[in-house]
Symmetry: C4
Subunit: 232 residues, 4 copies
């Protein structure tokens, strides 16, 4: 069942230690088959060095395990909300990568401070508000998804153009057109968070780049007038 | 004698260079057999690349060498105090890992600033008070253990829930249910110290996470209602 | 056609991941044959692990592709301006290396703060002014080259003595007597940006080194009285 | 001639890239044979990956090359002064390791902020005063040695107890009982500079450790009452 997607989600999970995004079992990647609405996700608490493609867990959009002997990631309910509310995405990544966590713990957006950021994210990577006590106590992982969605709606951010968020005092979620694509966004987020942290130490004034430079760099890589890379 | 424990303590010691927690011979790991009250500990000053399982030294709770040709770690007396006073622990690690040392030298706790911390430590990782001259001059290593125990008692911290401490102007000790478990706590401490250092540079206000979020994350991984990972 | 230069430009491109100067496909290296005025440059958006010498693209000084099936780097127009205006250079590198980007995003020069800097750069590595909206909208990559040239002219900096620049809110370009030489300058720039960032955090006053020490170190390695290294 | 010392000096040089203390050809190690007063030192400007034991250059205390086809390190005159003035040392290292350079460029000592420092250095690692124009213009490398010696004399620091210095706006020199020992001191200096830099960012007050703790840690590893490590 969904063998190809399982293999891809497995490989995407294995990129997390390769790109130094995780310590121990922290972090998880999922992918969705939009035809069957089934999600393939990492099992909870399994070390990456022991992980196998056949251990990937299949769950439906109600969170029921459809296939697999292991418990799915404890963050599965967050993934489900994002797949429901962001209809174009097909892969999700959660990590505790240290530079993204730094901004999440500080309760600050990663501002769009340069073209490295603009090549991937069309504006600041937002941080959510702190979750309320009742949201944490009850259905915590689902509520985590809800507060992410709320952030994008209230701030009118398009999740296809800014495929990343920082959950307050927690860490990043990223997404994309595939599980691999979502991992790439995690790598870029970590890199721009690192650069922009240091920029803020050097010069906390005028950190935001000009809108026209942001437009230029995002749109030379994305959308119908893109001209970066090779014709496909 | 205690061959299995020697092998485990040896392997735990070898994880220190693997996880980049030590330079040269800095750092040591021990484990205890609670039935015989015998401790297995790294010999003093031996480089990790030359270390062998059979070189592990066996000492009793009075610090007498029961087996082994080499001197035990110069920090053995500190380990003994912790095993005596913290009855549930079975492994101890001491390192000079740089981010934990940064807080130790600054004389500051590592505050609980986010869920990465809360997944392992149920509250701030405390720093001890500075040791007094008479404590340093006489029975220094034993007194180091005493000041750790004093810190946990006075601040009413449960060492099973916060398995780590920073000795002022010195560095971290961590412990756990086994020598390997204690090493894992050293890795997590180093990672959260790094993240939270950077968070403090970005935003030194409101660094402490909400208590209910701390509760949620600690308790979803620890205790009878934990639901992270696989059933065992 | 230009097989030797293609091989050298290929090898210079492969040094970027080796020296940890790039993430994914970010960055590009070119070289020029000054006899034919033909430039060999990396193709756009090709991952380094898949790159082959025969994929290098040959373009002329008008930006026309003379040989190659792939699109040249999207930054080709910037390279062309630099080759036209800086007549002694034969290789150019662009990266988003994080410490150089930190200064570029902060809109600050990398000051000449010590002998490591002076051994390679005869004065501060300048940052350009921010580009104007009309420069970004139209012929952006060419205008990027123009603003670099303007910076060196207005500040009367000799590009042979300071073979590097930071484009504001973007990142570094470096150049040299060959593609490999230009990569070496990228490595040195990243290293001195890292050191000098930290120096500025420790002591932001009197960051500039004495002119006579700058002279001494630059001139013991460069020019007719140089005495560093072996006779050639 | 001095084959054993050449091999040792070669191996000590090769430790510099192993411990990430050098970029390209920056840095050099020498050793002295105190019987013949001959110094073995790295040749100038040779990349480490190409270095061979037989390329080591033999010079006398007047700086004359006694054996070897290559130019000795451009810093040879500095090494000679240190061997002349610090009679107990037998090995010297110079690097541009980034954390030590950070303090050198800031013109600040590395203060003794914790036990990691005290285990190797019996007090702050001093920075020299800035060199004067006439010192830089004439006999620069010899004068560099002189200003190091002046620093230790004026501040009454014993070079056997603090085997390291930072040359202002330049970088570190370390020394020891052998070339390998001197490299070890370079590694420790880099590590404590890193830790103490970060400590200063967290808490710039009361950075100096208590004298009695400094005494304890230095003396439990050094001198006749040392008890760290194994009997020899």
């Amino acid at each position: 069942m969904l063998e190809k997607l399982k293999q891809e989600v497995y490989e995407a999970n294995m990129l997390l230690p390769k790109y130094n995004l995780v310590t121990f079992t922290w972090g998880n990647v999922s992918g969705i088959d939009r035809d069957s609405n089934l999600i393939v996700i990492k099992p909870s608490g399994i070390p990456y060095e022991e992980l196998k493609p056949e251990q990937m867990v299949v769950v439906d959009l109600n969170g029921n395990v459809v296939e697999g002997d292991l418990n799915p990631s404890s963050d599965t309910a967050t993934h489900i909300i994002l797949y429901k509310e962001f209809p174009n995405i097909k892969g999700i990544v959660h990590t505790h990568s240290p530079w993204a966590v730094t901004f999440a713990q500080a309760g600050l957006d990663v501002p769009a401070a340069g073209t490295t950021h603009a090549d991937t994210f069309y504006g600041p990577v937002p941080v959510t508000r702190a979750m309320k006590e009742e949201e944490v106590i009850r259905d915590y992982e689902k509520q985590t998804g809800d507060v992410i969605v709320e952030t994008f709606k209230e701030r009118q951010i398009d999740p296809d153009q800014v495929p990343a968020v920082l959950v307050n005092d927690h860490g990043p979620f990223t997404w994309g057109k595939s599980a691999i694509d979502a991992v790439h966004h995690s790598v870029v987020l970590e890199e721009v968070a690192k650069m922009t942290y240091h920029t803020l130490q050097l010069n906390p004034y005028q950190i935001d780049m000009d809108q026209y430079l942001l437009d230029k760099h995002y749109l030379r890589k994305h959308g119908k007038n893109a001209y970066y890379g090779q014709k496909k």
